[in-house]
């Protein structure tokens, strides 16, 4: 948790620093300003996915790239193999430094916007995500695990399959919508916006976005995790009471 926060903060500081250097003393206007339609996405009882609008302006025309990253986690990727006719887990590997959610939007195809080294440095695009795979099994290369993880995350709707568009109005204003599906992980997200000219990052800005459970659902979750014994007892009592009620209510039938 603190680790992730620290990483996020250092990234923000880096980008702010970068922005200051790039803007220079001569310019009175920021080269890039961007904001989100909201900074908090509440997951309430009726939550079924939502959209957040990113909007902003640039001082002069350029390419704009947006990256949305969820908090990092360490999922387990399993490889299946057939043993005497039955598919079983052959080996499992914990992969580190994986964003739980990842979306890229751009005004133009990524390869035309920046050089591979720039994309790699900022981890823009699925191919440039820098997972840490400590060990692998003899049956598969680390790259296979890397690709499998991206494929599985795409299937869950947490990584996007294609780079999404950013609409530009009059060379100055831009907007893009980010869709968060119902199974979106909670936590602190970072929304990074890059302004590029001639393949180089001219300006960048990072905005945090918090996705958090709110209301009854959040209370139930906290209760289940913090006082699990009491939660278990209440779950049993609820079941006994409703089963008894049902039997009494339908006694005649």
């Amino acid at each position: 948790m603190f680790d992730a926060l620290h990483r996020l903060l250092s990234r923000i500081l880096l980008l702010v620093g970068l922005g200051l250097v790039m803007s220079g003393p001569a310019q009175t206007q920021e080269p890039l300003v961007a904001d989100l339609s909201r900074h908090l996405v509440p997951i309430t009882t009726g939550f079924a996915g939502t959209e957040v609008l990113l909007f902003g302006a640039v001082d002069e025309p350029g390419d704009i790239v947006m990256v949305v990253r969820g908090p990092t986690h360490e999922p387990v990727v399993r490889r299946l193999a057939r043993i005497s006719g039955i598919w079983v887990t052959r080996s499992q590997i914990r992969v580190g430094n994986v964003p739980s959610f990842y979306r890229v939007a751009s005004t133009a195809p990524l390869e035309t916007v920046a050089s591979p080294s720039v994309l790699q440095r900022h981890q823009i695009g699925l191919a440039n995500l820098d997972f840490t795979i400590e060990r692998t099994d003899s049956g598969a290369e680390p790259q296979e695990y890397h690709d499998a993880l991206i494929r599985l995350k795409q299937k869950e709707g947490l990584f996007n399959a294609e780079v999404q568009p950013i609409d530009v109005l009059g060379n100055r204003l831009f907007r893009s919508t980010v869709y968060f599906p119902a199974n979106v992980p909670v936590g602190t997200y970072s929304v990074e916006v890059y302004l590029l000219r001639d393949g180089q990052v001219v300006s960048a800005q990072t905005t945090p976005l918090i996705i958090s459970k709110i209301g009854l659902g959040a209370d139930v979750y906290d209760f289940a995790h913090q006082q699990s014994a009491a939660y278990g007892l209440i779950a049993i009592l609820l079941a006994v009471a409703s089963g008894w009620l049902a039997a009494v209510a339908f006694k005649k039938g």
Partner: protein, 305 residues
């Protein structure tokens, strides 16, 4: 209408869950079984994480068993002494099962363990039920209403075991070890498969213990309440995988469905019902068997964590 499940951490359609609870409640009313063996695979099928499906399934079975046992209790169809012995075995078994579940989940083999147990147990029970019902139907046609009467007791090696106890309601004098072991096995299944285990316990009580059929269902429901309650508590404390919102939705559907099922059941003959149930059990078994042997879409899968 969508509702967000706080523990499963996903949103589901309320009416889908109510409908599932209703359909399975209907079947449990119709056949007099818990229906957990259908509920857990269905929940996993609609995308509920397997661990949450198993933990929540146990919680839901507590409720359906409580409402089921009350009618049997009033009619005196619960053998309390036998029930308590089964409970003791079941508590030990389900505790072992929850920790076994955790161990297998850590090894990445829990999905395989769940599927394999389903295939093996549903295959055996469904097959036996089908064979027996078909044979009885044929016999009934040949002999008319009569048929051969079963002996009250058949003496086997089972009666040579030590620690004998008298069970008045069941009219039995047998070793206490046997019900304890049956309870233990069913307890492990409860934790791993998210079922009540009635479909294993009822045949075991009839064929292994030789209990009269009148007390079998009530006594097994009595045991299931305590064992699934223990499983619910342990899954909630050890794995945090009990979703009360999901359990309540399933319950509401289940309670209503069970009433309609019980009414529909009165119009069908016992043997026909048993053949139908056997076919459903075998259907689920074959479906899961193919999942084990067919090449999956993706040779990699994502674990929890």
């Amino acid at each position: 209408m969508q509702i967000y499940l706080p523990i499963a951490e996903m949103s589901v359609n309320v009416f889908l869950i109510l409908g599932m609870g209703g359909a399975i409640g209907f079947m449990s009313g119709l056949f007099g079984v818990g229906g957990g063996f259908l509920m857990t695979p269905l929940l996993i099928f609609i995308g509920i994480p397997p661990a949450v499906a198993v933990g929540t399934g146990a919680n839901q079975i507590v409720a359906s068993s409580v409402s089921g046992v009350m009618a049997h209790w009033r009619r005196g169809n619960v053998d309390l002494k036998m029930g308590l012995l089964l409970v003791v075995g079941g508590l030990v078994g389900s505790t072992l099962g929850v920790f076994l579940f955790r161990l297998l989940a850590g090894l990445g083999q829990i999905d395989l363990a769940i599927r394999l147990s389903y295939v093996i147990f549903l295959g055996i029970i469904g097959g036996l039920m089908l064979i027996e019902s078909v044979q009885r139907l044929r016999k009934d046609r040949k002999l008319g209403a009569g048929g051969a009467r079963r002996k009250l007791h058949q003496h086997t090696w089972i009666h040579g075991l030590p620690l004998k106890m008298r069970f008045r309601r069941s009219k039995l004098y047998i070793s206490a070890i046997l019900p304890f072991c049956i309870g233990l096995l069913v307890g492990i299944l409860t934790a791993i498969m998210g079922v009540g285990g009635g479909f294993v316990m009822v045949p075991a009580m009839i064929y292994l213990l030789g209990m009269p059929t009148s007390v079998v269902v009530g006594t097994s429901l009595f045991q299931i309440i305590f064992v699934t309650a223990n499983t619910t508590f342990l899954q909630a404390t050890v794995n945090q995988t009990v979703d009360v919102v999901l359990a309540l939705l399933l319950l509401i559907g289940g309670v209503v469905g069970a009433q309609f099922g019980a009414r529909a059941g009165m119009r069908l003959r016992g043997e026909q019902l048993r053949i139908l149930l056997a076919l459903i059990v075998l259907g689920v078994c074959i479906n899961l068997f193919f999942e084990l042997i067919l090449t999956p879409d993706d040779l990699f899968s994502l674990g929890m964590g």
